[in-house]
């Protein structure tokens, strides 16, 4: 019982860390570079 809980906690930490690494990669790649522009693009005339 206790062991399975510990394994699950460690597993969830690993999963979280994986997502976190992907997030860091996305920030470094500039995915969040400009979140303002896309929503204003519809306002452009062309």
């Amino acid at each position: 019982m206790d062991e399975s809980l510990i394994i699950l906690i460690v597993l969830s930490l690993c999963l979280g860390a994986g997502c976190w690494l992907i997030f860091i990669w996305a920030v470094k790649k500039g995915e969040f570079e400009d979140v303002e522009k896309p929503k204003h693009r519809m306002l452009d005339d062309d």
Partner: protein, 854 residues
């Protein structure tokens, strides 16, 4: 081509395999470069006597540390110093500014430096503008003052400021993302602990969960929460309590209490520490996105200015840079320019392409910065005018919307002055530069915008005003509790400190962190669905305080597009014939006046038919032949007269209306009077804002008669015409000095400085980039009355925010006494925290039901 061996560029250090540019120095040194840019930079650095730069081991990462502010030598800084009379000006980009208090601190500290006459720091750009006496103080001293306060000073240049903002935003985003992941993990353990509190939990399991909680919370507090801790430290040093201090206190006390509790076998508060940091980081991210756009505003103006221009060098004018003072006549006559004075950079190999036109005329592409007054330039169709200039050859239509706000192209001939950034629509012209690029219209506007942004008074935000007295109160209370426990209850020192810590952590509720962002988020998303884009929370607060509103005319109150106001016929022609002819011929033209006439005909039921022999004279008019052989001419009065058609009619010259005349088979047949049409909702916004006790005025670059007519039309008493961009700015500043809170509504480049200075600025979706970038509020669609809605929604939001904050205090009122007596266990604290956060969120959601016309 065989593969070359890898080499390292002597300037940038990059390794490359292509053919290197080699250079052998006098002293036998040997250098290689990957590109001309590096070669040029290397020469520049060495010629400035800074060759030692290349010997520095740390040059790959040029950073300024606190002690090394003097890294910028006098020569480095002298490039950034602009003399202004007896004084000098320097712009410094200051890194590490996180709140208006930082701005306040820096301004005060810098103003105390002897020799500094004037300091203004723009919060939006983080740029400090200083005027100082060069004899009393050296710029390095100013730099070290900034550095000693814990901020990073750098000499300002536009690119650097953008990089800085990007770095800061990425940094905050990483901190927030990390906090979010870890807090989500933490919640799982916390729920297990809550359950354990009620159902019972094994001691070992509880201990284990608390250790894991400690593991995930520590980075949240010390990495993600570092900006708050650093900010708190700064505010402690200056004894100016702010929001940062409250947050750092809350998070740190929750964390340290929990660490103690973990080892003492008590209940822990880890989730409080993590929550506080995470929620406030969301708020910071929102705030940063608001600050970011103001800077891109100025750079969008720079973008409108062309970087390259085509220089005309004739046989009489052999050298592009006569290196003479501005003497247009001499250049025109080809005198005095035969001297072959060379300028320094010509010794470098030419970077730009060279072309040869007919008649021994060279066309040469140059950088706009190299244009001198008096230079002759070729501006082709579709290009922007690079500098303020005079047309000396040819005539063309010019889109001057950048300068005047007027969207219709204007016909300009020899001798006409054109401002930089305007677009040449019709034909190539030769122009003579009047001013260098740096002093031309666009750059002057950019300077005005920047000045207006920096000079803007900062309204301290509600949350900061509240924490200004709340933080000291909490600290005093905590100290009191500690003292009472020690001396009256006779507790141990440890227990007394712990109870003081628990007071602080309860006093910093999530509801407080959520009170403003939740309401702002709800208001922003509701207004977006109503066609109003609000740029962030501070906009709402400022908008709610407005008591004056200024409207630009062209493009704002009016559509900027002409519409037919009046139509009549002559020489016995009936409406049907004339409208049919007009529709058919004008259909072929792209001019806005032509479109308006076609539309007017279509509304009356006349569709264009086949048109032959269509001909267009730019700025004058058009002609064509109908299918039944009738010859139609359509255009200005002058165009018809030139074509030999007698124009006998007399009409009241009304400067606000444009007349388009139409002739059929050589006889005047009809006349259209066109005016700029009012925008939808223009009257409504005026009446709604007047009902809110607001002072309104129309402010325009157009002539006074037109402005008066439009003002009367929409029910405005006050109308100011013939205003230049700086006069508009002056008017706004005057109002601000009178203590009024000004809303400026405008759309053009000429409104940009006034928009930047106003308390709140508003633009419509079709506006110029610079106006949009400087706008706090953007109205999508054509309905101007949404401005009144935006005002009402901001008032409603402020009410909600006040309710939220009031609730957060009620929570404190109940929570603090409980914490003082030690009754508040983590489970109840968590329940109370969740309940109050939920209440605040639900209260904020009420904004989602806001209606357009209330």
């Amino acid at each position: 081509m065989s593969m070359l061996s890898e080499q390292n560029c002597s300037h940038c250090g990059i390794s490359f395999r292509w053919k290197a540019l080699k250079e052998n120095g006098d002293d036998g040194s040997h250098t290689v470069f990957c590109c001309r840019g590096c070669q040029g930079a290397y020469r520049m650095i060495c010629s400035a006597g800074l060759g030692n730069f290349y010997l520095r081991s740390d040059r790959a990462v040029p950073t300024v540390t606190e002690s090394a502010a003097a890294q910028y030598s006098e020569t480095d800084l002298s490039h950034h110093i602009v003399p202004e009379g007896d004084l000098c000006r320097i712009d410094i980009l200051v890194g590490g500014i996180s709140c208006p208090s930082c701005v306040w601190l820096l301004e005060r500290m810098l103003a105390r430096v002897p020799g500094v006459e004037y300091v203004s720091l723009s919060y939006s750009g983080g740029i400090a503008s200083l005027r100082f006496n060069p004899e009393t103080v050296a710029p390095q001293e100013i730099f070290s003052v900034i550095a000693s306060l814990g901020y990073t000073p750098r000499p300002y240049s536009a690119d650097q400021s953008e990089k800085e903002a990007r770095r800061e935003r990425d940094d905050l985003l990483l901190r927030f993302g990390t906090a979010l992941f870890l807090t989500m993990q933490l919640m799982a353990y916390s729920y297990a602990l809550y359950a354990g509190y009620f159902q019972g939990i094994g001691g070992a399991m509880k201990q284990f969960l608390q250790y894991v909680s400690l593991l995930v919370t520590t980075p949240v507090v010390f990495y993600c929460g570092w900006p708050f801790i650093a900010g708190a430290w700064r505010s402690l040093k200056t004894a100016a309590p702010g929001m940062d201090l409250l947050i750092a206190m809350g998070a740190l006390s929750a964390w340290s209490y929990s660490v103690w509790a973990t080892f003492a076998g008590q209940e822990t508060y880890y989730e409080s520490a993590a929550f506080i940091v995470t929620f406030v980081l969301i708020g910071r991210l929102l705030e940063l996105s608001v600050r970011r756009r103001a800077m891109s505003g100025i750079s969008s103006l720079y973008a409108a200015a062309p970087q390259r221009a085509t220089l005309v060098c004739s046989a009489n004018h052999p050298h592009p840079h006569p290196n003479l003072p501005f003497m247009p006549q001499r250049v025109l006559e080809g005198e005095g320019t035969k001297s072959s004075k060379t300028v320094a950079f010509d010794s470098l190999p030419p970077f730009q392409g060279e072309g040869r036109g007919g008649d021994g005329v060279h066309h040469r592409t140059v950088n706009v910065d190299d244009i001198r007054p008096g230079d002759l330039l070729l501006v082709r169709q579709g290009e922007r005018f690079p500098v303020d200039c005079l047309i000396v050859e040819g005539e063309t239509e010019v889109d001057q919307s950048l300068a005047t706000g007027e969207s219709q192209p204007v016909l300009l001939a020899c001798g006409a002055e054109v401002r930089s950034g305007c677009v040449n629509v019709a034909a190539p012209v030769t122009v003579q530069a009047l001013r260098p690029a740096g002093q031309s219209y666009l750059m002057r506007v950019a300077a005005l915008v920047q000045m207006a942004q920096a000079g803007k008074p900062k309204l301290q935000q509600l949350a900061d005003r509240v924490s200004g007295w709340f933080v000291p109160a909490v600290i005093i209370l905590a100290l009191l509790v500690c003292a009472v426990r020690l001396y009256y209850s006779g507790d141990s020192a440890g227990a007394a400190v712990m109870s003081a810590l628990s007071v602080i952590l309860i006093a910093c509720p999530c509801a407080m962190g959520l009170a403003v962002p939740a309401a702002v988020l709800a208001a922003c998303s509701r207004s977006a669905s109503l066609g109003i884009i609000l740029r962030g929370g501070d906009v709402i607060e400022r908008l709610a305080s407005i008591n004056s509103a200024l409207f630009d005319k062209t493009g704002t109150v009016t559509c900027g597009l002409p519409g037919v106001m009046h139509f009549d016929t002559y020489a016995g022609y009936d409406d049907a014939t004339v409208l049919q002819a007009a529709a058919t011929v004008e259909e072929q033209a792209a001019h806005p006046l032509a479109r308006a006439i076609v539309q007017y005909a279509a509304v009356n039921g006349y569709q264009p038919e086949l048109c032959q022999n269509f001909r267009s004279v730019p700025g004058r008019g058009i002609s064509g032949v109908l299918s039944d052989g009738k010859e139609v001419l359509c255009g200005s009065e002058a165009f018809l007269r030139e074509s030999g058609i007698p124009v006998t009619i007399k009409y009241q010259p009304d400067s606000s209306a444009t007349a388009v005349l139409l002739a059929i088979d050589g006889l005047l047949a009809g006349r259209f009077l066109l005016v700029d049409q009012l925008r939808e909702g223009a009257r409504r916004v005026v009446s709604e804002l007047v009902a809110e006790q607001m002072e309104l005025a129309l402010i325009s670059g157009d002539n006074q008669i037109t402005v008066d007519r439009i003002a009367a039309d929409i029910g405005l008493v006050s109308a100011l015409g013939e205003m230049t961009p700086d006069q508009k700015l002056d008017h706004v500043t005057t109002l601000l000095q009178q203590g009024r809170h000004v809303l400026m509504v405008g759309d053009g480049v000429n409104d940009a400085p006034a928009l930047a200075a106003a308390t709140v600025s508003c633009s419509l979706s079709g506006s110029s980039d610079i106006a949009l970038e400087n706008a706090d509020v953007i109205i999508t669609g054509d309905d101007l009355s949404r401005i009144a809605t935006a005002y009402r929604i901001s008032r409603a939001t402020m009410t909600i925010i006040r309710q939220n904050l009031a609730w957060a205090f009620v929570y404190n009122l109940i929570g603090i006494p409980l914490a003082m007596t030690g009754l508040l266990t983590p489970v109840y604290a968590a329940v109370a925290m969740t309940a109050s956060s939920l209440l605040v969120s639900l209260n904020s959601l009420r904004l989602m039901r806001f209606k357009h016309h209330g």
